[in-house]
């Protein structure tokens, strides 16, 4: 029975390793549509390194579990310290992780870098339970908002009298992005915390009431994709679904200008 248990444990671990390996080699990530390819690279490297560690440690666990079973006459070794070994595996682990960290921090810095000067400005305001998208229009300036005047007809409280607001274009749950042109999105919220999530773009930013948080990225392929809310915001959290449309930049500029008139 001991032998069987050991065999079973080893086998179960092996099955786990094989299943995990097979499944992790499939491409699960939503196809990448933005310039944040650095994130996908980091994920791939992480998969390879942690995958190797996973396989090795589990193989050892399976092998030791099977091989070192209690047999008549068997005796455990008396070996409980080896400072050299300890230092070796500690420093190797630290070294590998340091490389990870270095790479990760560089990537983080680039994601959080200043947007290019020609980035197109868009504002996304989350509310229970919809995404209010606003384009500043030809003047490039977003009109003032005052939450005191927010209402059913004016969900983001746009101050209509503000000259900058006259050419603002408002959409509900629809986001149009220019192809190959950086956009900077100012993420806001009217009520509770939401999270602006574009799975295909590796973009996620919590929408914090009381704050305006800016992120930027570039869409690299045309097509229609989805916006999801990624922060529990109430009973309609599951239906805060929007649509992203990536269209040629010139087309978008034209459409926004036309809508302003």
């Amino acid at each position: 029975m001991g032998k069987l248990q050991g065999l079973l444990f080893g086998l179960a671990t092996l099955v786990l390793v094989v299943t995990a390996t097979v499944l992790f080699t499939k491409d699960w990530l939503p196809p990448l549509m933005s310039d944040r390819v650095g994130i996908d690279h980091a994920i791939s490297i992480t998969l390879v390194v942690t995958g190797i560690v996973f396989i090795l440690t589990n193989l050892l666990l399976a092998w030791f579990g099977y091989r070192y079973q209690d047999q008549p006459g068997a005796r455990a070794a008396y070996w409980h310290d080896n400072p050299r070994l300890e230092w070796t595996w500690t420093l190797v682990t630290a070294g590998v992780l340091a490389v990870f960290l270095f790479n990760a921090l560089g990537l983080w810095a680039s994601v959080n870098a200043r947007p290019p000067a020609d980035a197109m400005l868009i504002e996304v305001t989350g509310q229970q339970f919809a995404w209010n998208v606003r384009y500043p229009g030809p003047d490039g300036v977003l009109g003032r908002t005052d939450h005191l005047i927010a209402s059913q007809e004016n969900p983001i409280g746009l101050v209509k009298d503000d000259p900058a607001a006259k050419d603002d274009l408002l959409l509900l749950n629809q986001l149009y992005l220019p192809l190959d042109k950086p956009v900077r999105v100012q993420v806001r919220s009217m009520d509770v915390i939401h999270s602006f999530f574009l799975p295909n773009f590796r973009v996620k930013q919590d929408a914090m009431p009381g704050m305006t948080i800016e992120i930027w990225f570039t869409a690299k392929q045309t097509g229609d994709f989805e916006i999801a809310c990624a922060e529990h915001c109430g009973l309609g959290h599951y239906r805060m679904r929007g649509q992203v449309h990536v269209v040629p930049a010139a087309e978008l500029d034209k459409a926004v200008t036309e809508a302003a008139q």
């Binding site: 995990a20 980091a42 999801a228």
Partner: protein
């Protein structure tokens, strides 16, 4: 000697006789530990049922659940689950599991049972406070369970209770009265945990028997010691935050509520026609919550790591490899746990510089974690494994620690976390490493120390059956969540199939649910084993596993005062197994110093 014998006699003389003082309002750590343990198991049943309902909804939201509606009419309408019910399900599952089950069973349960025994003391340092801590905890349990039945239901803003969702009473039904009960329950819980923590840390530091230096402690005790310190230093942040949330909810303050809030297209105004709230910060809640929250998850996990070292060595008859490194690793994990909380907040809008700092700490904490795994593997190498139930669970902990720990490296890198935050990838990670390690640790500790608790051993056949069913279905439930998380499946989503990109994942959700249902049903085997063995199990000797700790030097179960005579003194570390120079294959901690024939 005479002193402690007098004490023992005194202890006998003072042993309570009436049922109520012996078993209900007891000051005996063994009784209190069992009270905590059993209560936590009952809470686990409830939280587990909540999880089953979540899984059924995620797999088959479109099905007609009128059958469930009959049992829980408030949760369903026309056979379809209500979204607010779903929000309450995941909130309460998380809250009850994290605090009332997994902070309790391994810590307050086994900590109470084992600390005085392993340390060589008659009882905890403050027995009255100990009893008080249990009944305070019980009040917390009653409060949180009662919250299911108030007005608009129990809290529904997630176990993390982020404001404004948790602070604005109209933002979600559970934020009406349920959230207030949540806060009150947490205050009871934290008070209880603090009392327990004071007892743990004082007993371990001050009441060790002669010869038991800190570097001769079993790792279980090191874990309990560190957990107590973590709790004493970290929980106050949540106490403070909870009080501020209470004020925001009921007294119009603005600790966490910024200006400009508009709920249901109606601005939230004060009597003067201006915004009621001004200048509060939702981020402040997150910082305070996670300042507790991160050490909290290590509170859940460290005891299991301690149990694993003790169980592994006993059942593979080999000394623990790298005792100093193992202690150092646990201390490092505990210390680092205080400076990584922001990794829960990478996309929250906090300063990117803070994000950098937290990423560094988070990746660093992987080093001591890896060291522990390597030391366990080295312990197993060239050992002599006996596959009893406790051993299976301990090896299960090692397996889960590897799986869950590695996914932490994915999440700790701040940029990739942009894709994973608030998806099922996170759910996979913490269920494997935290919940899984803690749960397997509890089951392993139960199998190991059941004889000490009840004087009988648990049934091996049932134990092994329970392990295999749980091990396989645990992985079957949580490992696939990595994949759907990678695919972008968000957390806390009542109906994922509203999204085109999530529709193809339904078969995987179905697989996970079937696995989870079997996992849930498998726990019946445990309950049967536990209660049957407690009354009818084979009677246990003093030391059924031939282990080394001081708890195995007294009867099973120990008498009031733990040792009928003098308390044993300690002469060595607790991992003296298979020393070739020894006359026996293990030398217990209390056996006198030996001089033997040399030989290797």
């Amino acid at each position: 000697m005479a002193h402690s014998e007098a004490h023992a006699a005194e202890a006998h003389a003072h042993a309570p006789q009436a049922f109520i003082w012996r078993y209900v309002f007891s000051k005996d750590h063994k009784v209190i530990g069992i009270q905590y343990y059993v209560t936590a198991m009952m809470m686990a049943l409830i939280a587990g049922l909540l999880a089953m309902l979540i899984r059924v909804q995620l797999a088959w939201p479109e099905k007609d659940w009128s059958s469930l509606q009959k049992i829980i009419p408030a949760g369903y309408t026309s056979g379809v689950m209500n979204p607010e019910f779903y929000a309450m399900l995941f909130t309460m599952h998380g809250t009850i599991m994290v605090f009332f089950v997994l902070s309790t069973a391994p810590v307050s349960g086994f900590g109470n049972i084992l600390i005085p025994l392993q340390v060589g003391a008659r009882d905890m340092a403050f027995p009255f406070l100990n009893g008080l801590s249990f009944w305070t905890f019980f009040c917390g349990c009653v409060t949180i369970l009662y919250s299911f039945f108030v007005g608009a239901g129990a809290a529904a803003a997630g176990w993390t209770s982020y404001p404004p969702l948790s602070a604005l009473r109209g933002a979600v039904p559970g934020s009406d009265t349920g959230q207030t009960f949540w806060i009150v329950a947490m205050v009871f819980f934290i008070a209880s945990f603090t009392m327990g923590g004071l007892n743990f840390v004082t007993t371990i530091v001050n009441l060790r028997t002669k010869g038991l230096s800190m570097m001769r402690l079993p790792l279980t005790l090191w874990a309990m010691f560190l957990v107590a310190i973590l709790g004493l230093l970290a929980f106050p942040a949540l106490t403070g935050a909870s009080l501020m949330l209470l004020l925001d909810r009921h007294f119009g303050t603005s600790f966490f509520l910024p200006t400009g809030l508009v709920l249901n297209n109606a601005p939230i105004l004060g009597p003067d026609g201006q915004f009621l709230h001004k200048g509060g910060s939702p981020l402040l809640w997150q910082h305070l919550f996670w300042f507790l929250g991160h050490p909290e998850v290590y509170i859940l996990m460290l005891p299991a790591l301690g149990f694993t070292s003790d169980i592994l060595t006993t059942f593979c008859r080999k000394a623990l490899f790298g005792y100093k490194a193992m202690v150092g690793a646990m201390v490092a994990i505990a210390g680092l746990s205080f400076i990584v909380w922001g990794h829960h907040m990478f996309v929250s809008g906090m300063s990117p510089y803070l994000g950098m700092a937290f990423a560094v700490g988070t990746i660093l904490i992987a080093v001591p974690s890896a060291v522990k795994v390597f030391n366990w593997l080295a312990t197993l190498w060239n050992s002599r494994i006996q596959y009893k139930t406790p051993m299976l669970w301990a090896m299960g902990v090692v397996s889960l620690f590897i799986s869950g720990g590695l996914s932490g490296i994915w999440l700790g890198q701040s940029a990739p976390d942009i894709q994973f935050h608030d998806t099922f990838f996170v759910v996979a990670h913490f269920h494997l490493i935290m919940a899984g390690a803690a749960l397997f640790g509890v089951f392993g500790a139960t199998a190991m120390w059941f004889p000490k608790m009840f004087g009988r051993t648990m049934n091996e056949t049932l134990g092994k059956t329970h392990f295999w069913l749980t091990f396989v279905t645990y992985y079957g439930t949580f490992f696939p969540m990595h994949y759907i998380g990678l695919a972008g499946h968000m957390r806390r989503i009542y109906d994922p199939y509203q999204y085109a990109f999530l529709k193809p994942l339904q078969p995987i959700n179905e697989f996970i649910t079937v696995s989870a249902l079997i996992l849930g049903l498998s726990q019946i085997v445990f309950f049967v084993n536990f209660f049957w063995s407690a009354f009818k199990g084979q009677k246990a000797s003093e030391n059924p596993w031939n282990a080394n700790g001081l708890e195995w030097t007294t009867s099973s179960p120990p008498p009031h005062g733990n040792w009928p005579g003098a308390i044993p003194e300690v002469h060595r570390w607790p991992y003296e197994y298979s020393n070739p120079s020894a006359p026996t294959d293990h030398v217990m901690q209390h056996e006198p110093p030996m001089t033997v024939e040399a030989g290797h």
